[in-house]
């Protein structure tokens, strides 16, 4: 149940962020060019981020690719978190806009804590210990309906 909730939340976040970039392409492109990043990196991210986010959502949605989806979402969220943290700590010469979908209405602080929360959720699911199946969890052929 917990796994399904986390996966659903991550799918929702990546579908939302991916499509909001596609729906507001010019805005997203402008915002990326105004991040304190080299232009070649901004251009690369403009074209790679939306498909990456949507592929991550797709990966999370299907059972066979959920682990790849979780790894991808953890890495993406970790990078976003480190970036927002660096902005807040004034690692860059200026503070750019914190624009992107619903997060456009939030400042960098809120953005950061949301990212931290989502990264922790992804990590919780990705690194959870795989417990050996107990005797009771193995269906007994006696009790199983024939």
């Amino acid at each position: 149940m917990r796994r399904r909730l986390i996966l659903s939340l991550l799918v929702l976040v990546f579908v939302y962020t991916g499509f909001s970039k596609l729906f507001g392409w010019d805005y997203f492109s402008d915002a990326m060019h105004n991040q304190p990043l080299p232009h070649w990196l901004s251009n690369t991210l403009i074209w790679s981020l939306p498909p990456l986010e949507l592929c991550t959502a797709l990966g999370l949605a299907f059972t066979g690719t959920q682990r790849i989806g979780l790894i991808s979402s953890f890495i993406l969220l970790l990078i976003f978190t480190i970036y927002t943290g660096a902005i807040m700590l004034h690692f860059f010469p200026r503070v750019p806009c914190s624009c992107g979908g619903i997060f456009r209405k939030l400042g960098w602080h809120a953005h950061f804590w949301i990212n931290v929360g989502l990264t922790l959720l992804a990590a919780l699911e990705l690194f959870k210990p795989v417990l050996p199946r107990t005797r009771s969890s193995i269906p007994s052929p006696i009790n199983s309906p024939s």
Partner: protein, 106 residues
């Protein structure tokens, strides 16, 4: 299994709908301002940010100084200045200010 697929489809549709509902405004007029603090509150100045090397779309850029920020105001969004105060761009006067300054008590 079918129920799970339906709930997944619902999540995807909600995500797409939210993205559509929150898509940025088209043909938004960006206003360019600079402000600093005085005893009276924030003082706004109109400023040509493109002359300072800013590119269209940059909404908020604080210089190293604690009291001065330059930004292009996007009317649909909110900002937090670097003293931690939250404000809506729509709170900023769009008329009556010029490059000689305008006192606006915030």
């Amino acid at each position: 299994m079918k129920k799970r697929k339906l709930s997944l489809l619902a999540i995807v549709l909600v995500g797409i709908s939210l993205a559509w509902a929150n898509k940025p405004f088209h043909n938004t007029t960006y206003h360019t301002y600079e402000y600093f603090y005085t005893y009276y509150g924030r003082v706004y100045y109109l400023k040509d940010l493109t002359a300072n090397g800013y590119v269209k779309g940059n909404q908020y850029a604080c210089d190293a100084a604690d009291y001065e920020c330059t930004f292009m105001a996007f009317p649909g969004s909110s900002q937090t200045d670097n003293t931690g105060n939250f404000f809506w761009i729509s709170d900023i006067p769009t008329e009556g200010i010029d490059n000689t300054g305008f006192y606006f008590e915030f």
